[in-house]
């Protein structure tokens, strides 16, 4: 370890203060802090610090994403092989999926990180680790056959417009990964919706139907999957969104480590359940009478509420606000599903909409505290005048 440390110290010498590559220091720092937690000591404030830092936090989220990602890779191959009727093993399916998905992840990371590096050098701050999560999320919520250049352009749009334009990490209003998906959704609708995109090669091989459950419900067709299949995720859909089971494992990791807000997750489930139940009672069309329990396990709801709605920057920031935000996200998600035949899935728009309203929710929660303080002051004034 010492030899490696010495090697690195000599490598980064030209990036030091007053040296010719000083401007590019954030780039070398990013690599350095990836290998080693730096030797910085506390200068002011508390003299001791917690072991947790943003890197550790973000890596925990990535760990929570892995079960859903691995299942998503397998499911991509599984859907293809089942529909073509070939015999296959787990490995076959996994390799088929990996061939499709790994390049998407690489494109997303390369494009996004390049922009992040550029802005870090330009603004003279360190590179924030938030993109490690965003960069993995973007391919996970795309249809599997989307061309790589579209992934790249969506990523660039999301990082530039949704994040850096607002001032970078911690300042964005919208969740960057969902913004990437929304951009692709509206810019390239034929690649992002319909019945030809949700299973690998559905567009080119005739025997494959790429319809999602919500899509067929919206079209008034019957659902040919059981609830167990929906729960374990062997259904068509965006790459990693299908398996409620593995998303739940991720949710458990997030909640146990305290990284993801359980208030938002539980709130979202409550909101969606209530809305689904109400529509069940109404039951005017196929989507309305689709059981509320099924609503919770199909489509991107579980993935969205666990991994996207809980993004701490774009969600509500007060504890009370998180409850309200979660519940409203759940309600809106089911509402969009049921009422809007053009968008059979509502979770993306529901979360983006609530992202916009999150600061307003916080404003009212914090104002309650401010008003309490004002009232106490006015009461004290009155006491004095008596």
């Amino acid at each position: 370890m010492n030899a490696l440390r010495k090697k690195f110290d000599s490598l980064r010498r030209p990036f030091g203060k007053g040296q010719k590559l000083e401007k590019f220091a954030p780039a070398i720092n990013a690599f350095d802090t990836f290998l080693f937690v730096p030797n910085h000591t506390t200068k002011k404030g508390a003299h001791i610090r917690d072991a947790v830092d943003l890197k550790r936090t973000m890596v925990t989220v990535i760990i929570a994403l892995l079960p859903a990602l691995i299942y998503g890779i397998y499911n991509t191959g599984y859907q293809y092989h089942v529909q073509t009727g070939e015999s296959f093993t787990f490995i076959n399916a996994f390799i088929h999926g990996a061939f499709k998905i790994v390049p998407m992840i690489i494109v997303s990371y390369v494009v996004g990180l390049t922009i992040e590096f550029g802005f870090a050098v330009y603004r003279g701050h360190e590179i924030n680790e938030g993109y490690l999560v965003t960069g993995l999320l973007i391919p996970m919520i795309m249809p599997v056959d989307i061309p790589l250049w579209m992934v790249g352009i969506s990523t660039a749009f999301a990082v530039l417009i949704a994040k850096e334009a607002f001032g970078g990490t911690g300042m964005n209003i919208l969740n960057p990964a969902l913004t990437a998906r929304a951009f692709a959704f509206f810019a390239y609708p034929t690649y992002m919706s319909g019945n030809k995109v949700w299973v690998s090669e559905a567009g080119s091989v005739d025997g494959i139907s790429g319809e999602t459950i919500l899509g067929s419900l919206a079209a008034g067709q019957d659902v040919k999957y059981s609830m167990i299949q929906m729960f374990q995720g062997s259904i068509p859909g965006s790459i990693a969104e299908t398996s409620t089971l593995w998303v739940a494992v991720g949710a458990l990791i997030l909640i146990l480590t305290g990284i993801g807000s359980w208030r938002i997750i539980i709130g979202g489930i409550i909101g969606a359940a209530i809305m689904g139940l109400l529509f069940n009672l109404w039951g005017a069309n196929a989507l309305m009478s689709f059981s509320w329990t099924n609503h919770l396990v199909v489509g991107g709801f579980a993935f969205g509420i666990v991994f996207m709605a809980t993004d701490p920057v774009s969600a509500a920031q007060t504890n009370k606000g998180k409850w309200i935000y979660g519940i409203l996200t759940g309600i809106l998600c089911i509402m969009i599903r049921v009422f809007n035949p053009a968008y059979p899935e509502g979770v993306m728009l529901a979360i983006l909409l609530m992202n916009v309203f999150a600061p307003t929710i916080d404003h009212y929660v914090v104002n309650a505290n401010i008003n309490k303080r004002k009232k106490r002051w006015i009461n004290a004034q009155e006491l004095k005048t008596i």
Binding site: H40, A51, V59, M171, Q317, W377
Partner: protein, 452 residues
Amino acid sequence: MRIIKKIQTRRGANLNINGEAEKIILRTPSSKTFALKPDDFFGTFPKLLKKEGQEIKAGEPVFFSKNDPRIKFVSPVSGIIQSIERGPRRKIEKIIIANSLVDDSISHKVDNWEKLNRNELITLLLESGNWPFIHQRPYGTIANPDETPKAIFISAHRTSPLCPDFEFILNKEIKAFQDGILILNKLVDQQVFLGTNASHPGIFNEISDIQNYTVAGPHPAGNISLHIQELAPLNMGERVWTVNPEDVANLGRFAKTGKFSPRRTIAITGNAVEDPKYIITKQGAELQPILDEFKLLYPQNRVINGDLLSGTITHLDGYLGYYNNQISVIPEGNDYRMFGWLPFKDNNILSLSNTSFSRLFKKKGFEVDTNLNGEERAIVVTGEMEKVFPLDVYPMQLLKACMFEDIEKMEALGIYEVVPEDFGLIDYANTSKIEAQEIIRQGIELMINEVG
């Protein structure tokens, strides 16, 4: 004794660190020099009364406050002004006094202090250099003698890491403490409040003329901001005064003898100290002779005036602060940790976050050092500050208002109800390594300059 309120909090955390001082007073040789550091008096700008080389008696003023010349700061010992150290822009950093070891002190007439009215008593305390013992809220500056506080708070139960036990410190000084309480009762509009440990009130049971409340819960339960919020919430324009427990006894001793009492019982703590114990000295004592009596376990140590969360950095050859009852010594942590950012790695580092097993596996004390364990980042994670912050204030929102210097917002969000030390645990626990105490301190300075 009647308990008027039991303050109980759940939000916060006790940091389980090695190096608590054993309840034994270690006799140490007397320090040769003493120093007054104007930085110990937040919001005070000093105007010197003495020059280098001049003789000085114990209790004789060394400097006064520019904002209020009546507030004088007196020498803890008799001797000679050895040097006046200045920093950038000729800011006075230290006034070093060589101790002559002769007890040559200024005496004030105190035999009838019980009969003095409020104004006469205040004049006596100002003249004798006892006034700096009294702080005010908001802001945590030295109290303004022209104002009348609605309450005075004394917290005899502290919860900060490795904090000294005031029951032990004041065990033999309970009479002086009671006299100090009587003095404070003359200064206040309503009451003097005394906070004690809920699990054992101990010696403070016998104290009269106070409103006793008890405190239970993890740090920062012992911080006075919380007690004020629960018992006498501060509104705009109101004042509450606070006094440290040992300074109450110092006031009491002054009332008996007429001589300024600079006594300090110090807990020498921290995991770099082999056998941590208490010592008795005076304000501003040179630390070298004291720390020479202790074995320090690491080659590079950080010496802190105060506790690990909100103390100030000093050095082995530095000086004791004016107010603190604690010196903490911990090793410097200026080394690298390979892949230290991996979750659940390095569980020997104390962490309040569940991304480490540290609290699960190690029930005993932790060794700590000064490593930042990461780098400063944008504020991303939400909700973690509230977990360690029991006040009815939104900490992150207040911090952001301070960063934007939005005075109206700071006021609305409760800047009057906090002092930097309330944010000590936030400094410690926040993921983005935000210097919360520094931000609040700058916010309070802004308020003092703009609002007053």
